[in-house]
Amino acid sequence: MWLAGVSAVVLAAIAAALLIDLPMEGRQEILWRIRVPRVSLGLAAGAALAASGMAFQAMFRNALATPYTLGVSSGASLGAALYMRAALRLDAAGIDGVSLAALAGAGLSTMLVYGLTRLSRAFSTATLLLAGVATSFSITSLILLTQYSSDVTTAFRVGRWLMGGLDVVGFEPVWQVLPFAAAGLLVVTVLTREMDLLVAGEDLAATRGVSVEPVKRLLFFAVSLMVGGVTAVCGPIGFVGLIVPHIGRLLVGGRHRLLAPFSILGGASFLVTCDTVARVAIAPVEVPVGSITALVGGPFFLTLLLWGRANRGFETS
Protein backbone atom coordinates (compact mmCIF):
# COMPACT_ATOMS: atom_id res chain seq x y z
CA MET A 1 0.00 0.00 0.00
CA TRP A 2 2.85 2.34 0.86
CA LEU A 3 4.59 1.52 -2.38
CA ALA A 4 1.38 2.29 -4.25
CA GLY A 5 1.27 5.72 -2.58
CA VAL A 6 4.83 6.53 -3.59
CA SER A 7 4.20 5.29 -7.13
CA ALA A 8 1.14 7.53 -7.43
CA VAL A 9 3.12 10.60 -6.36
CA VAL A 10 5.94 9.78 -8.76
CA LEU A 11 3.67 9.02 -11.69
CA ALA A 12 1.68 12.22 -11.13
CA ALA A 13 4.87 14.30 -10.98
CA ILE A 14 6.28 12.71 -14.12
CA ALA A 15 3.09 12.37 -16.16
CA ALA A 16 2.37 16.09 -15.80
CA ALA A 17 5.34 16.68 -18.13
CA LEU A 18 3.39 14.93 -20.92
CA LEU A 19 0.62 17.49 -20.70
CA ILE A 20 2.86 20.43 -21.61
CA ASP A 21 1.70 22.06 -24.81
CA LEU A 22 4.67 21.27 -27.03
CA PRO A 23 5.64 19.12 -30.00
CA MET A 24 6.42 15.50 -29.02
CA GLU A 25 10.14 16.03 -29.31
CA GLY A 26 10.11 18.90 -26.82
CA ARG A 27 7.94 16.99 -24.38
CA GLN A 28 10.29 14.01 -24.51
CA GLU A 29 13.28 16.19 -23.89
CA ILE A 30 11.64 17.78 -20.84
CA LEU A 31 10.50 14.36 -19.62
CA TRP A 32 13.77 12.46 -19.93
CA ARG A 33 16.41 15.11 -19.39
CA ILE A 34 14.75 17.28 -16.76
CA ARG A 35 11.63 15.85 -15.12
CA VAL A 36 12.62 12.19 -14.61
CA PRO A 37 16.11 13.03 -13.28
CA ARG A 38 14.62 15.62 -10.98
CA VAL A 39 11.96 13.28 -9.56
CA SER A 40 14.57 10.49 -9.18
CA LEU A 41 16.86 12.83 -7.28
CA GLY A 42 13.93 13.87 -5.08
CA LEU A 43 13.16 10.23 -4.30
CA ALA A 44 16.75 9.38 -3.40
CA ALA A 45 17.32 12.55 -1.38
CA GLY A 46 13.99 12.36 0.45
CA ALA A 47 14.50 8.71 1.40
CA ALA A 48 18.07 9.33 2.53
CA LEU A 49 17.24 12.42 4.59
CA ALA A 50 14.25 10.87 6.35
CA ALA A 51 16.17 7.66 7.13
CA SER A 52 19.12 9.73 8.40
CA GLY A 53 16.91 11.73 10.71
CA MET A 54 15.29 8.56 12.01
CA ALA A 55 18.67 6.94 12.72
CA PHE A 56 20.07 10.00 14.49
CA GLN A 57 16.91 10.43 16.56
CA ALA A 58 17.25 6.81 17.70
CA MET A 59 20.99 7.00 18.30
CA PHE A 60 20.86 10.24 20.29
CA ARG A 61 17.51 9.37 21.91
CA ASN A 62 16.58 12.91 21.02
CA ALA A 63 13.38 13.88 19.21
CA LEU A 64 15.01 17.05 17.83
CA ALA A 65 17.95 15.34 16.13
CA THR A 66 18.11 15.93 12.36
CA PRO A 67 20.48 14.76 9.62
CA TYR A 68 22.22 18.12 10.03
CA THR A 69 22.65 18.07 13.81
CA LEU A 70 26.27 16.91 13.57
CA GLY A 71 27.36 19.61 11.15
CA VAL A 72 27.64 17.51 8.00
CA SER A 73 25.58 19.98 6.01
CA SER A 74 27.45 22.95 7.46
CA GLY A 75 30.69 21.36 6.30
CA ALA A 76 29.20 20.73 2.86
CA SER A 77 27.83 24.27 2.68
CA LEU A 78 31.17 25.80 3.67
CA GLY A 79 32.89 23.75 0.97
CA ALA A 80 30.38 24.97 -1.60
CA ALA A 81 30.53 28.58 -0.39
CA LEU A 82 34.34 28.69 -0.47
CA TYR A 83 34.31 27.17 -3.95
CA MET A 84 31.88 29.82 -5.21
CA ARG A 85 33.75 32.61 -3.40
CA ALA A 86 37.03 31.54 -5.00
CA ALA A 87 35.26 31.70 -8.38
CA LEU A 88 36.69 28.34 -9.33
CA ARG A 89 35.36 26.35 -12.23
CA LEU A 90 36.41 22.74 -12.14
CA ASP A 91 34.77 19.43 -12.54
CA ALA A 92 35.90 15.85 -12.68
CA ALA A 93 34.30 12.80 -14.25
CA GLY A 94 31.19 14.82 -14.99
CA ILE A 95 30.74 15.77 -11.34
CA ASP A 96 30.17 19.44 -10.81
CA GLY A 97 32.88 21.36 -8.90
CA VAL A 98 30.46 22.76 -6.33
CA SER A 99 29.38 19.20 -5.46
CA LEU A 100 32.99 18.05 -5.14
CA ALA A 101 33.83 20.93 -2.84
CA ALA A 102 30.69 20.29 -0.79
CA LEU A 103 31.50 16.59 -0.55
CA ALA A 104 35.04 17.39 0.62
CA GLY A 105 33.58 19.82 3.18
CA ALA A 106 31.15 17.20 4.44
CA GLY A 107 33.95 14.62 4.72
CA LEU A 108 36.26 16.98 6.59
CA SER A 109 33.59 18.11 9.05
CA THR A 110 32.62 14.48 9.71
CA MET A 111 36.25 13.60 10.42
CA LEU A 112 36.58 16.66 12.64
CA VAL A 113 33.52 15.75 14.71
CA TYR A 114 34.69 12.14 14.94
CA GLY A 115 38.19 13.22 15.97
CA LEU A 116 36.84 15.58 18.63
CA THR A 117 34.61 12.84 20.02
CA ARG A 118 37.51 10.40 20.17
CA LEU A 119 39.46 12.85 22.30
CA SER A 120 37.18 11.81 25.11
CA ARG A 121 38.09 8.18 25.80
CA ALA A 122 34.89 6.48 24.77
CA PHE A 123 32.66 7.13 21.76
CA SER A 124 30.15 8.90 23.97
CA THR A 125 26.84 9.93 22.43
CA ALA A 126 26.65 13.11 24.52
CA THR A 127 30.18 14.18 23.47
CA LEU A 128 29.39 13.37 19.83
CA LEU A 129 26.24 15.47 19.95
CA LEU A 130 27.95 18.44 21.60
CA ALA A 131 31.03 18.23 19.35
CA GLY A 132 28.71 18.10 16.32
CA VAL A 133 26.56 21.04 17.38
CA ALA A 134 29.57 23.20 18.31
CA THR A 135 31.36 22.37 15.05
CA SER A 136 28.19 23.13 13.14
CA PHE A 137 27.85 26.59 14.68
CA SER A 138 31.52 27.45 14.11
CA ILE A 139 31.33 26.38 10.49
CA THR A 140 28.09 28.32 9.99
CA SER A 141 29.82 31.52 11.06
CA LEU A 142 32.56 30.82 8.49
CA ILE A 143 29.84 30.44 5.84
CA LEU A 144 28.38 33.81 6.83
CA LEU A 145 31.83 35.43 6.61
CA THR A 146 32.41 33.86 3.20
CA GLN A 147 29.03 35.05 1.97
CA TYR A 148 29.54 38.53 3.37
CA SER A 149 32.88 38.97 1.68
CA SER A 150 31.47 37.94 -1.71
CA ASP A 151 30.09 40.09 -4.49
CA VAL A 152 26.34 40.32 -4.90
CA THR A 153 26.05 37.52 -7.44
CA THR A 154 28.16 35.09 -5.43
CA ALA A 155 26.33 35.98 -2.23
CA PHE A 156 23.07 35.22 -4.01
CA ARG A 157 24.42 31.91 -5.34
CA VAL A 158 25.59 30.89 -1.87
CA GLY A 159 22.27 31.97 -0.37
CA ARG A 160 20.36 30.08 -3.04
CA TRP A 161 22.50 27.00 -2.47
CA LEU A 162 21.81 27.14 1.26
CA MET A 163 18.07 26.92 0.54
CA GLY A 164 18.47 23.54 -1.13
CA GLY A 165 17.07 22.54 -4.50
CA LEU A 166 16.45 19.67 -6.87
CA ASP A 167 16.50 21.63 -10.13
CA VAL A 168 19.00 19.50 -12.00
CA VAL A 169 19.38 18.63 -15.66
CA GLY A 170 20.50 15.15 -16.73
CA PHE A 171 21.10 12.01 -14.68
CA GLU A 172 24.67 12.73 -13.49
CA PRO A 173 23.54 14.28 -10.18
CA VAL A 174 21.31 11.23 -9.57
CA TRP A 175 24.17 8.78 -10.16
CA GLN A 176 26.26 10.88 -7.84
CA VAL A 177 23.78 10.62 -4.95
CA LEU A 178 22.78 6.97 -5.43
CA PRO A 179 25.83 5.14 -4.02
CA PHE A 180 25.79 7.23 -0.83
CA ALA A 181 22.04 6.84 -0.41
CA ALA A 182 22.06 3.09 -1.18
CA ALA A 183 24.92 2.32 1.23
CA GLY A 184 23.39 4.41 4.02
CA LEU A 185 19.89 3.00 3.55
CA LEU A 186 21.28 -0.54 3.59
CA VAL A 187 23.00 0.05 6.95
CA VAL A 188 19.92 1.72 8.42
CA THR A 189 17.54 -1.07 7.32
CA VAL A 190 19.87 -3.78 8.60
CA LEU A 191 20.26 -2.18 12.05
CA THR A 192 16.52 -1.81 12.86
CA ARG A 193 16.65 -4.09 15.92
CA GLU A 194 19.75 -2.36 17.25
CA MET A 195 18.07 1.04 16.87
CA ASP A 196 15.00 -0.20 18.78
CA LEU A 197 17.28 -1.18 21.64
CA LEU A 198 19.37 2.03 21.49
CA VAL A 199 16.17 4.04 21.93
CA ALA A 200 15.46 2.03 25.08
CA GLY A 201 18.90 2.91 26.44
CA GLU A 202 22.51 1.96 25.73
CA ASP A 203 22.89 -0.14 28.87
CA LEU A 204 19.79 -2.15 28.08
CA ALA A 205 20.95 -2.57 24.50
CA ALA A 206 24.31 -3.88 25.74
CA THR A 207 22.61 -6.44 27.96
CA ARG A 208 20.61 -7.65 24.96
CA GLY A 209 23.78 -8.39 23.04
CA VAL A 210 24.18 -5.17 21.00
CA SER A 211 27.83 -4.12 20.52
CA VAL A 212 26.88 -0.57 21.32
CA GLU A 213 30.02 1.32 20.26
CA PRO A 214 30.63 -0.40 16.89
CA VAL A 215 26.93 -0.03 16.06
CA LYS A 216 26.96 3.67 16.93
CA ARG A 217 30.15 4.20 14.95
CA LEU A 218 28.70 2.39 11.94
CA LEU A 219 25.50 4.43 12.13
CA PHE A 220 27.48 7.67 12.52
CA PHE A 221 29.61 7.07 9.45
CA ALA A 222 26.89 5.54 7.27
CA VAL A 223 24.45 8.36 8.01
CA SER A 224 27.10 11.10 7.73
CA LEU A 225 28.21 9.78 4.34
CA MET A 226 24.62 9.52 3.17
CA VAL A 227 23.79 13.07 4.30
CA GLY A 228 27.08 14.37 2.86
CA GLY A 229 26.37 12.73 -0.51
CA VAL A 230 22.85 14.16 -0.67
CA THR A 231 23.77 17.63 0.60
CA ALA A 232 26.67 17.89 -1.85
CA VAL A 233 24.19 17.72 -4.73
CA CYS A 234 20.96 19.19 -3.35
CA GLY A 235 22.21 21.58 -0.69
CA PRO A 236 20.71 21.41 2.77
CA ILE A 237 17.00 20.61 2.50
CA GLY A 238 15.52 21.02 5.95
CA PHE A 239 12.55 19.52 7.73
CA VAL A 240 12.31 16.19 5.83
CA GLY A 241 14.75 14.47 8.17
CA LEU A 242 13.20 15.96 11.28
CA ILE A 243 9.51 15.45 10.70
CA VAL A 244 8.95 12.46 8.40
CA PRO A 245 10.23 9.99 11.07
CA HIS A 246 7.94 11.63 13.63
CA ILE A 247 4.97 11.34 11.27
CA GLY A 248 5.95 7.67 11.01
CA ARG A 249 6.02 7.27 14.80
CA LEU A 250 2.51 8.70 14.97
CA LEU A 251 1.19 6.51 12.15
CA VAL A 252 3.02 3.17 12.43
CA GLY A 253 4.65 3.36 15.86
CA GLY A 254 8.25 3.48 17.00
CA ARG A 255 9.40 -0.02 16.01
CA HIS A 256 12.14 0.48 13.42
CA ARG A 257 11.16 -2.65 11.48
CA LEU A 258 8.13 -0.65 10.29
CA LEU A 259 9.41 2.85 10.91
CA ALA A 260 12.48 2.46 8.66
CA PRO A 261 10.53 1.50 5.51
CA PHE A 262 7.92 4.15 6.33
CA SER A 263 10.61 6.85 6.66
CA ILE A 264 12.29 5.81 3.43
CA LEU A 265 9.10 5.71 1.36
CA GLY A 266 7.49 8.62 3.19
CA GLY A 267 10.58 10.82 2.87
CA ALA A 268 10.85 10.02 -0.84
CA SER A 269 7.22 10.83 -1.66
CA PHE A 270 7.13 13.84 0.67
CA LEU A 271 10.14 15.49 -0.98
CA VAL A 272 8.85 14.80 -4.50
CA THR A 273 5.48 16.31 -3.53
CA CYS A 274 7.15 19.41 -2.07
CA ASP A 275 9.31 19.77 -5.16
CA THR A 276 6.22 19.60 -7.37
CA VAL A 277 4.68 22.42 -5.32
CA ALA A 278 7.96 24.36 -5.55
CA ARG A 279 7.95 23.94 -9.32
CA VAL A 280 4.37 24.91 -10.09
CA ALA A 281 3.44 27.39 -7.31
CA ILE A 282 4.52 30.52 -9.20
CA ALA A 283 5.72 28.92 -12.45
CA PRO A 284 7.89 29.49 -14.37
CA VAL A 285 9.72 31.00 -11.41
CA GLU A 286 10.75 28.12 -9.16
CA VAL A 287 10.75 28.34 -5.39
CA PRO A 288 13.64 26.60 -3.57
CA VAL A 289 12.28 23.28 -2.32
CA GLY A 290 13.92 23.83 1.08
CA SER A 291 11.54 26.74 1.66
CA ILE A 292 8.51 24.59 0.82
CA THR A 293 9.16 21.47 2.92
CA ALA A 294 8.31 23.05 6.26
CA LEU A 295 5.46 25.05 4.75
CA VAL A 296 3.77 21.89 3.44
CA GLY A 297 4.85 19.47 6.16
CA GLY A 298 4.44 21.62 9.25
CA PRO A 299 0.63 21.92 9.24
CA PHE A 300 0.31 18.23 8.26
CA PHE A 301 2.44 17.15 11.20
CA LEU A 302 0.65 19.44 13.66
CA THR A 303 -2.71 18.05 12.54
CA LEU A 304 -1.49 14.53 13.20
CA LEU A 305 0.05 15.50 16.50
CA LEU A 306 -3.01 17.27 17.89
CA TRP A 307 -5.84 15.22 16.46
CA GLY A 308 -4.20 11.94 15.56
CA ARG A 309 -3.00 9.01 17.61
CA ALA A 310 -0.69 11.10 19.73
CA ASN A 311 -0.10 8.31 22.23
CA ARG A 312 2.30 6.64 19.81
CA GLY A 313 4.88 9.40 19.98
CA PHE A 314 8.64 9.28 20.37
CA GLU A 315 8.70 8.83 24.13
CA THR A 316 6.63 5.64 24.01
CA SER A 317 8.47 4.00 21.16
Binding site: A17, I20, L22, G26, E29, I30, R33, I34, R35, M84, R89, L90, D91, A92, I95, D96, G97, V98, L100, A101, A104, G107, L108, M111, G115, R118, R121, A122, F123, Y148, S149, S150, D151, V152, T153, F156, R157, R160, D167, V168, V169, G170, E172, E213, R279, A283, P284, V285, E286
Partner: protein, 308 residues
Protein backbone atom coordinates in the same frame (compact mmCIF):
# COMPACT_ATOMS: atom_id res chain seq x y z
CA UNK B 1 34.84 1.24 28.65
CA UNK B 2 36.15 -0.10 25.41
CA UNK B 3 39.84 0.21 24.53
CA UNK B 4 40.73 2.10 21.36
CA UNK B 5 41.10 -0.36 18.49
CA UNK B 6 44.15 1.36 17.07
CA UNK B 7 47.08 2.91 18.94
CA UNK B 8 46.72 6.72 18.90
CA UNK B 9 49.62 7.38 16.52
CA UNK B 10 48.29 5.00 13.90
CA UNK B 11 44.83 6.47 14.27
CA UNK B 12 46.11 9.98 13.84
CA UNK B 13 47.99 8.93 10.72
CA UNK B 14 44.82 7.45 9.27
CA UNK B 15 42.88 10.65 9.95
CA UNK B 16 45.63 12.72 8.33
CA UNK B 17 45.63 10.39 5.31
CA UNK B 18 41.88 10.70 4.86
CA UNK B 19 42.07 14.50 5.16
CA UNK B 20 44.92 14.61 2.63
CA UNK B 21 42.98 12.38 0.28
CA UNK B 22 40.00 14.74 0.47
CA UNK B 23 42.24 17.75 -0.22
CA UNK B 24 44.02 16.00 -3.07
CA UNK B 25 40.73 15.30 -4.78
CA UNK B 26 40.14 19.03 -5.33
CA UNK B 27 43.15 20.03 -7.48
CA UNK B 28 43.09 16.64 -9.19
CA UNK B 29 39.69 17.64 -10.43
CA UNK B 30 41.05 20.68 -12.27
CA UNK B 31 40.25 20.92 -15.93
CA UNK B 32 40.93 24.02 -18.00
CA UNK B 33 37.90 26.23 -18.47
CA UNK B 34 37.04 26.35 -22.13
CA UNK B 35 34.71 29.17 -23.09
CA UNK B 36 33.08 28.39 -26.39
CA UNK B 37 33.09 31.18 -28.91
CA UNK B 38 29.79 32.12 -30.50
CA UNK B 39 29.54 30.21 -33.72
CA UNK B 40 25.98 30.85 -34.79
CA UNK B 41 25.59 33.30 -37.60
CA UNK B 42 21.84 33.47 -37.57
CA UNK B 43 20.10 32.69 -34.31
CA UNK B 44 16.34 32.68 -34.79
CA UNK B 45 15.01 31.92 -31.31
CA UNK B 46 17.02 33.58 -28.54
CA UNK B 47 16.44 33.31 -24.81
CA UNK B 48 18.13 35.89 -22.60
CA UNK B 49 19.00 35.03 -19.01
CA UNK B 50 19.78 38.54 -17.77
CA UNK B 51 18.13 41.97 -17.93
CA UNK B 52 21.33 43.55 -19.27
CA UNK B 53 21.62 40.91 -22.00
CA UNK B 54 17.99 41.53 -22.99
CA UNK B 55 18.63 45.25 -23.21
CA UNK B 56 21.74 44.71 -25.35
CA UNK B 57 19.89 42.33 -27.70
CA UNK B 58 17.12 44.88 -28.30
CA UNK B 59 19.58 47.77 -28.76
CA UNK B 60 21.49 45.69 -31.29
CA UNK B 61 18.37 45.04 -33.34
CA UNK B 62 17.85 41.41 -32.27
CA UNK B 63 14.60 42.13 -30.44
CA UNK B 64 12.36 40.33 -32.94
CA UNK B 65 14.30 37.09 -32.41
CA UNK B 66 14.12 37.10 -28.61
CA UNK B 67 11.51 34.53 -27.53
CA UNK B 68 12.11 34.38 -23.78
CA UNK B 69 13.49 36.53 -20.98
CA UNK B 70 13.77 36.43 -17.17
CA UNK B 71 11.15 37.79 -14.83
CA UNK B 72 13.53 40.69 -14.11
CA UNK B 73 13.67 41.80 -17.76
CA UNK B 74 11.36 44.84 -17.81
CA UNK B 75 13.05 46.91 -20.51
CA UNK B 76 12.25 47.59 -23.25
CA UNK B 77 8.47 47.24 -23.04
CA UNK B 78 8.42 44.59 -25.81
CA UNK B 79 10.79 42.45 -23.72
CA UNK B 80 8.60 42.73 -20.65
CA UNK B 81 5.74 41.20 -22.62
CA UNK B 82 7.73 38.10 -23.69
CA UNK B 83 7.39 34.64 -22.08
CA UNK B 84 9.40 34.30 -18.87
CA UNK B 85 11.84 31.50 -18.07
CA UNK B 86 12.18 32.22 -14.34
CA UNK B 87 14.70 34.23 -12.31
CA UNK B 88 18.03 35.72 -13.35
CA UNK B 89 20.33 33.14 -11.73
CA UNK B 90 17.57 30.56 -11.24
CA UNK B 91 15.95 29.80 -14.58
CA UNK B 92 13.40 27.03 -14.89
CA UNK B 93 15.01 24.61 -17.32
CA UNK B 94 11.64 23.19 -18.30
CA UNK B 95 10.28 26.62 -19.21
CA UNK B 96 13.49 27.30 -21.11
CA UNK B 97 13.40 24.09 -23.16
CA UNK B 98 9.68 24.59 -23.82
CA UNK B 99 10.54 27.76 -25.79
CA UNK B 100 12.75 25.68 -28.15
CA UNK B 101 15.57 28.26 -28.29
CA UNK B 102 18.49 27.88 -30.69
CA UNK B 103 20.61 30.24 -28.60
CA UNK B 104 20.76 31.18 -24.93
CA UNK B 105 22.53 34.39 -23.95
CA UNK B 106 24.04 34.46 -20.48
CA UNK B 107 26.61 36.25 -18.33
CA UNK B 108 29.82 34.97 -16.65
CA UNK B 109 27.76 34.96 -13.43
CA UNK B 110 25.73 32.00 -14.78
CA UNK B 111 28.33 29.40 -13.76
CA UNK B 112 25.67 27.15 -12.26
CA UNK B 113 23.26 27.25 -15.20
CA UNK B 114 25.80 26.94 -17.99
CA UNK B 115 26.67 23.23 -17.60
CA UNK B 116 22.96 22.36 -17.51
CA UNK B 117 22.34 24.28 -20.72
CA UNK B 118 25.22 22.41 -22.33
CA UNK B 119 23.75 19.12 -21.12
CA UNK B 120 20.50 20.11 -22.80
CA UNK B 121 22.41 20.61 -26.04
CA UNK B 122 21.66 24.33 -26.22
CA UNK B 123 24.09 26.78 -27.81
CA UNK B 124 25.13 29.52 -25.43
CA UNK B 125 26.82 32.88 -25.89
CA UNK B 126 28.31 34.76 -22.99
CA UNK B 127 28.11 38.55 -22.67
CA UNK B 128 30.56 40.02 -20.16
CA UNK B 129 28.92 43.02 -18.52
CA UNK B 130 31.50 43.52 -15.76
CA UNK B 131 32.97 46.52 -17.57
CA UNK B 132 31.81 49.29 -19.92
CA UNK B 133 34.05 47.84 -22.63
CA UNK B 134 32.35 44.47 -22.14
CA UNK B 135 28.92 46.04 -22.63
CA UNK B 136 30.03 47.69 -25.88
CA UNK B 137 31.61 44.47 -27.14
CA UNK B 138 28.45 42.53 -26.38
CA UNK B 139 26.40 44.89 -28.56
CA UNK B 140 28.77 44.16 -31.45
CA UNK B 141 28.53 40.41 -30.71
CA UNK B 142 24.74 40.60 -30.74
CA UNK B 143 24.91 42.35 -34.11
CA UNK B 144 27.04 39.48 -35.44
CA UNK B 145 24.64 36.86 -34.09
CA UNK B 146 21.57 38.38 -35.72
CA UNK B 147 23.30 39.84 -38.77
CA UNK B 148 22.16 43.31 -37.75
CA UNK B 149 25.62 44.85 -37.99
CA UNK B 150 24.49 48.27 -39.14
CA UNK B 151 22.20 48.83 -36.17
CA UNK B 152 24.67 47.36 -33.65
CA UNK B 153 27.64 49.28 -35.02
CA UNK B 154 25.66 52.51 -34.96
CA UNK B 155 24.76 51.96 -31.30
CA UNK B 156 28.37 51.15 -30.40
CA UNK B 157 29.56 54.23 -32.28
CA UNK B 158 27.01 56.43 -30.50
CA UNK B 159 28.09 55.13 -27.07
CA UNK B 160 31.80 55.39 -27.86
CA UNK B 161 31.28 58.94 -29.04
CA UNK B 162 29.47 59.77 -25.79
CA UNK B 163 32.30 58.26 -23.72
CA UNK B 164 34.91 60.11 -25.76
CA UNK B 165 33.14 63.44 -25.23
CA UNK B 166 32.88 62.82 -21.49
CA UNK B 167 36.55 61.91 -21.39
CA UNK B 168 37.56 65.09 -23.24
CA UNK B 169 35.50 67.23 -20.88
CA UNK B 170 36.87 65.68 -17.70
CA UNK B 171 40.42 64.56 -18.40
CA UNK B 172 42.07 67.87 -17.45
CA UNK B 173 40.07 68.17 -14.25
CA UNK B 174 40.93 67.08 -10.75
CA UNK B 175 39.36 63.70 -10.11
CA UNK B 176 37.20 63.77 -6.95
CA UNK B 177 37.36 60.80 -4.57
CA UNK B 178 33.89 59.31 -4.66
CA UNK B 179 31.97 56.67 -2.70
CA UNK B 180 29.22 55.01 -4.73
CA UNK B 181 26.53 53.49 -2.53
CA UNK B 182 24.75 50.67 -4.36
CA UNK B 183 22.37 50.04 -1.46
CA UNK B 184 21.90 51.54 1.97
CA UNK B 185 20.06 50.20 4.98
CA UNK B 186 17.44 52.65 6.26
CA UNK B 187 15.80 50.41 8.81
CA UNK B 188 17.67 51.80 11.81
CA UNK B 189 18.22 55.40 10.87
CA UNK B 190 21.34 56.05 8.81
CA UNK B 191 22.59 52.49 8.37
CA UNK B 192 25.62 50.93 6.75
CA UNK B 193 25.80 51.08 3.00
CA UNK B 194 27.18 48.67 0.41
CA UNK B 195 29.74 50.53 -1.64
CA UNK B 196 30.98 49.78 -5.13
CA UNK B 197 34.45 48.36 -4.54
CA UNK B 198 37.41 49.21 -6.76
CA UNK B 199 36.48 46.57 -9.30
CA UNK B 200 33.56 45.89 -11.55
CA UNK B 201 31.31 47.97 -13.71
CA UNK B 202 30.51 50.83 -11.26
CA UNK B 203 34.20 51.49 -10.66
CA UNK B 204 34.66 51.60 -14.42
CA UNK B 205 31.68 53.95 -14.75
CA UNK B 206 33.11 56.26 -12.10
CA UNK B 207 36.53 56.40 -13.72
CA UNK B 208 35.06 57.18 -17.12
CA UNK B 209 32.91 59.91 -15.54
CA UNK B 210 36.04 61.64 -14.24
CA UNK B 211 36.05 60.41 -10.64
CA UNK B 212 38.05 57.90 -8.67
CA UNK B 213 36.92 55.36 -6.15
CA UNK B 214 37.51 56.37 -2.53
CA UNK B 215 37.10 52.77 -1.42
CA UNK B 216 40.53 51.14 -1.11
CA UNK B 217 41.20 47.75 -2.69
CA UNK B 218 40.40 44.83 -0.42
CA UNK B 219 39.06 41.32 -0.30
CA UNK B 220 35.43 42.45 -0.15
CA UNK B 221 33.94 43.38 -3.51
CA UNK B 222 30.95 45.30 -2.17
CA UNK B 223 32.31 46.41 1.22
CA UNK B 224 29.81 47.56 3.81
CA UNK B 225 30.71 51.03 5.04
CA UNK B 226 29.42 52.15 8.41
CA UNK B 227 28.97 55.88 9.10
CA UNK B 228 32.29 55.69 10.97
CA UNK B 229 34.15 54.25 7.97
CA UNK B 230 32.55 56.88 5.74
CA UNK B 231 33.82 59.65 8.00
CA UNK B 232 37.30 58.12 7.95
CA UNK B 233 37.29 57.82 4.15
CA UNK B 234 35.81 61.34 3.90
CA UNK B 235 35.16 61.28 0.14
CA UNK B 236 34.90 64.50 -1.89
CA UNK B 237 31.54 63.36 -3.21
CA UNK B 238 28.94 60.68 -2.52
CA UNK B 239 26.85 59.03 -5.22
CA UNK B 240 23.89 57.06 -3.96
CA UNK B 241 21.96 54.71 -6.21
CA UNK B 242 18.37 54.32 -5.04
CA UNK B 243 16.79 52.67 -8.10
CA UNK B 244 13.05 53.05 -8.18
CA UNK B 245 12.92 55.32 -5.10
CA UNK B 246 10.16 57.93 -5.26
CA UNK B 247 11.74 60.75 -3.28
CA UNK B 248 15.42 61.25 -4.13
CA UNK B 249 15.51 64.64 -2.39
CA UNK B 250 14.42 63.07 0.91
CA UNK B 251 17.12 60.41 0.56
CA UNK B 252 19.71 63.12 -0.01
CA UNK B 253 18.41 64.90 3.08
CA UNK B 254 19.19 61.84 5.19
CA UNK B 255 22.90 62.48 4.63
CA UNK B 256 22.62 65.52 6.90
CA UNK B 257 23.00 62.94 9.67
CA UNK B 258 26.73 63.01 8.85
CA UNK B 259 27.49 66.77 8.76
CA UNK B 260 31.23 66.26 9.22
CA UNK B 261 31.54 64.66 5.80
CA UNK B 262 33.12 67.01 3.28
CA UNK B 263 30.69 65.77 0.65
CA UNK B 264 27.73 66.68 2.86
CA UNK B 265 29.11 70.06 3.93
CA UNK B 266 29.80 71.04 0.31
CA UNK B 267 26.50 69.60 -0.92
CA UNK B 268 28.23 67.02 -3.06
CA UNK B 269 25.81 64.18 -2.36
CA UNK B 270 24.08 62.99 -5.51
CA UNK B 271 21.13 60.63 -5.41
CA UNK B 272 20.00 58.86 -8.57
CA UNK B 273 16.70 57.02 -8.71
CA UNK B 274 16.79 55.67 -12.29
CA UNK B 275 15.52 52.09 -12.27
CA UNK B 276 18.17 50.89 -14.75
CA UNK B 277 21.08 51.53 -12.39
CA UNK B 278 21.39 47.86 -11.30
CA UNK B 279 21.35 46.72 -14.96
CA UNK B 280 24.79 46.99 -16.59
CA UNK B 281 23.48 47.64 -20.11
CA UNK B 282 23.58 50.45 -22.69
CA UNK B 283 21.51 52.78 -20.48
CA UNK B 284 24.19 52.54 -17.79
CA UNK B 285 26.83 53.45 -20.38
CA UNK B 286 24.81 56.57 -21.30
CA UNK B 287 24.53 57.34 -17.59
CA UNK B 288 28.31 58.08 -17.64
CA UNK B 289 27.43 61.48 -19.08
CA UNK B 290 24.88 62.21 -16.31
CA UNK B 291 27.35 61.19 -13.62
CA UNK B 292 30.16 63.25 -15.15
CA UNK B 293 27.95 66.35 -15.20
CA UNK B 294 27.18 65.83 -11.51
CA UNK B 295 30.81 65.35 -10.50
CA UNK B 296 32.10 68.25 -12.66
CA UNK B 297 29.36 70.85 -12.39
CA UNK B 298 31.45 73.82 -13.52
CA UNK B 299 31.91 72.23 -16.89
CA UNK B 300 31.14 75.00 -19.43
CA UNK B 301 29.65 72.35 -21.73
CA UNK B 302 27.33 70.98 -19.10
CA UNK B 303 23.81 71.10 -20.41
CA UNK B 304 22.00 70.97 -17.12
CA UNK B 305 22.67 71.55 -13.42
CA UNK B 306 23.26 68.84 -10.84
CA UNK B 307 20.54 66.24 -10.85
CA UNK B 308 18.34 66.83 -7.84
Amino acid sequence: MQQPIYPPSSRRRRVVLVVLACLAAVPAACVPDVTSAPTLASAQRIVSLAPSATEVLFEAGCGARVVGVTSYCRYPAEAAALPKVGGYLTPSYEALVALRPDLVVLLPEHVDARPYLTTLGLDVVEFDHRSIRGILDSIATAGDLCATHARADATVAELEDLLRRVDERTKERRRPRVVISVSRGQERGFGSLSAAGPDGVYDDLLRRAGGRNAVPPGPVLHPALSPESLIRLNPDAVVEFAPGAVDGIAIRGEWRALPSLTAVARERVFVFTEDFLPVPGPRLVRFTDTLARALHPNDPHAGRPDPQ
